[in-house]
Amino acid sequence: MRIRKILVEEDAYAYPLTKKILNHLRGIPIEVVKKDDPRYNNMTNYYAPYEPAKDIIHLMAYKGAFLKPCPGTKEYICCKYQILNIGTNCPLDCSYCILQAYFNQPHLRIFVNIEEGLQDVLDIIDRRPNEIFRIGTGEFTDSLALDPIVGWSDMLIPHFSIRKNLILELKTKTDHIRKVLLSPYRERIIMSWSLNSPFICSHEEHGAAGIKKRLEAAKMCQSEGFLLGFHFDPLVIHDNWKEEYLKTIELMDKYIDPSRIIWISLGTFRYIPILKDIIIKRHKTSRVLSGEFIKGLDGKARYFKPIRIEIYSYMYEKLNDWYSDLGIYLCMESDDVWKSSFGWSPKDSNGLKEYLDKRVVRFYGR
């Protein structure tokens, strides 16, 4: 990862995290920008969305809510996950990534007031002691890709690990686990990896660690006492997909103790219409758009239902053959697809939340 430039908003200078990051990136040109500078507020006016700037870090004090519910839709069953919004965009460059279309500015934005914002988040959590919060930082960015520079894990883990009504999931496609392993905390910190077939990994997940490296990092975390999560999302239909996904499951078997996995999610590739344009423009050899995509009930393109059922059923069977208690669940699917693929369904989003919360309680207690 090569950082070419750092943009610092005027009011971001006062925060210790800014100083820490600038110190770490000494020698890289810095441009001080005004908060309301239109060039950085609505970038699509100036930058086409297919021109990301993954080599520019943008330090800013974020004014919105740091804890947000995952933007699921009512048409499909959602796990009611909470996103801790620490920054947006990602230095990795996966062809299928929704972030390419999701944000209207292309820089790697880091919210340097996170420590300040964290207090509000923890207040919310502490005010609702009977609720279980499943929180992750890996939705609007990769949880660990910038950790060597920003040190998010140092900041977050101590606050989250000591609370009894939550888990913090750090989801990544990297092997940047050094800072996490240096932390003395293990409780309620779930180390998660997005996985795919080796073919999709090498053709589509540009800049990400290979599957073997991810699993080696996962193994190290597991041996250090962390619980693991895995996310096969997006599952992509491609030539020999069955054999290819089986290779990844076989590698999991080689490296991972399945009894210390809290959950594995499955989700097939889906996209909003503009993402198709971006993939065609930015990732000319990408295979992810091949296949029969229909317009889903949420307006996103997704594989025709029997295709989704086929791939979910296959993954469910193979993962269950490996270990029968993996907490496998579907991300954003309908009740009938759940039943056809797994033989059971949580019925609705509350049911899925309950299923996953119970696994949290089972592994960590209350």
Binding site: Y46, A48, P49, K281, I294, I309
Partner: protein
């Protein structure tokens, strides 16, 4: 921009360059109307021209000069700009002169933005000139208009001018970097098949997806799929051609969905539903429920139809087509 002044001068039309017109944006115009107007009342506004060595360059008034030539005039009273003003200012004179009197078509807007981009930074064009042309201040939109000017052939441009091509369809052709050769084929098809705007988008999207997936060219696909034969078939009506072409495309793009629909509706047909009763699948089979529609004149007829329906054992066979044994 400094104010400019001009003097009126009788100029021979042969000395006015109509081939080099860097300040004119007119595209896809007809001369009949302006020719008729000049015939009726004479030339109301003189063109603005700029002296360049032994000839004159048109700043505004290309259509007027072409009309005068058609009418056989050999001289015109032109407003000759006195100063040696830079090209950008000539461009702006032309833009502001035109914008007060007429609307620009999309190709003309593309020409204006493209010409401005030779002299001004893109940010300034986005901020100042896109709103002036009724366009939103959005970089991707600017990119598309620049592409219309620089990357689109006359056949497609004329479809745009005549509003026979939807902007959405045009956007797809731009966003997906369609090759020049394929743009020509699309222009030919859109000229020959009178597709609705929605069908245009589907045609482009499906054919593009198929070609991309199979790594074949558009020409090869249209030949191999039989679409070319349908288009060339003189015995088919325009309506039938469109129906067949769209059916082929759907079948090729969504083979599993196409088969599922066919299987489902064949089964429904075999059930022998009472008259006025129909069963339909959800769009793409995505929502979980099928629908039955019963039309009836009164409650008595409704009861009779329901009674008939309850006696049809085959209704139990209705299920997702991919669950068939």
């Amino acid at each position: 921009m400094k104010p400019f002044s001009f003097c009126s001068e009788m100029v021979e039309l042969s000395r006015i360059d109509i081939n080099f017109t860097p300040f004119s944006f007119s595209y896809g115009f007809e001369l009949d109307q302006i020719t008729g107007s000049i015939q009726k009342v004479g030339l109301i506004n003189s063109p603005i021209i700029k002296r360049e060595q032994d000839r004159f360059i048109i700043v505004t008034g290309l259509k007027r000069i072409l009309a005068l030539k058609r009418l056989g005039w050999d001289k015109v009273e032109g407003h000759v700009i006195k100063q040696d003003i830079p090209p950008l200012e000539c461009l702006l004179i032309s833009l502001y002169d035109n914008i007060t009197t007429r609307n620009f078509n999309h190709v003309e807007k593309a020409i204006i933005l493209s010409r401005l981009s030779e002299y001004l930074p893109l940010e300034q064009i986005i901020q100042e000139y896109m709103p002036l042309l009724g366009l939103s201040k959005h970089r991707p939109i600017l990119d598309m208009y620049l592409w219309i000017d620089r990357g689109v052939g006359d056949d497609l441009k004329m479809l745009i001018v005549r509003e026979k091509l939807s902007i959405k369809a045009l956007r797809l052709l731009f966003e997906w970097n369609i090759r020049e050769e394929d743009l020509k084929i699309y222009a030919y098809i859109l000229n020959n098949l009178k597709l609705s705007f929605n069908q245009q988008i589907q045609f482009i999207e499906y054919s593009y997806d198929i070609c991309r997936e199979k790594h074949i060219g558009l020409r090869q696909f249209l030949e191999a799929s039989g679409i070319n034969d349908v288009i060339e078939n003189a015995s088919l009506s325009s309506h039938d051609k469109i129906k067949r072409v769209m059916d082929i495309l759907r079948q090729k793009r969504f083979p599993k969905l196409y088969n599922a629909e066919r299987k489902f509706y064949e089964k429904v047909k075999k059930i022998g539903l009472p008259m006025g009763v129909s069963i339909s699948a959800p769009l793409y089979f995505e929502a979980p429920h099928y629908k039955m529609l019963i039309s009836f004149r009164d409650g008595k007829e409704l009861r009779s139809k329901i009674a008939k329906l309850t006696g049809i054992k085959e209704l139990e066979e209705i299920r997702d087509p991919w669950q068939e044994q």
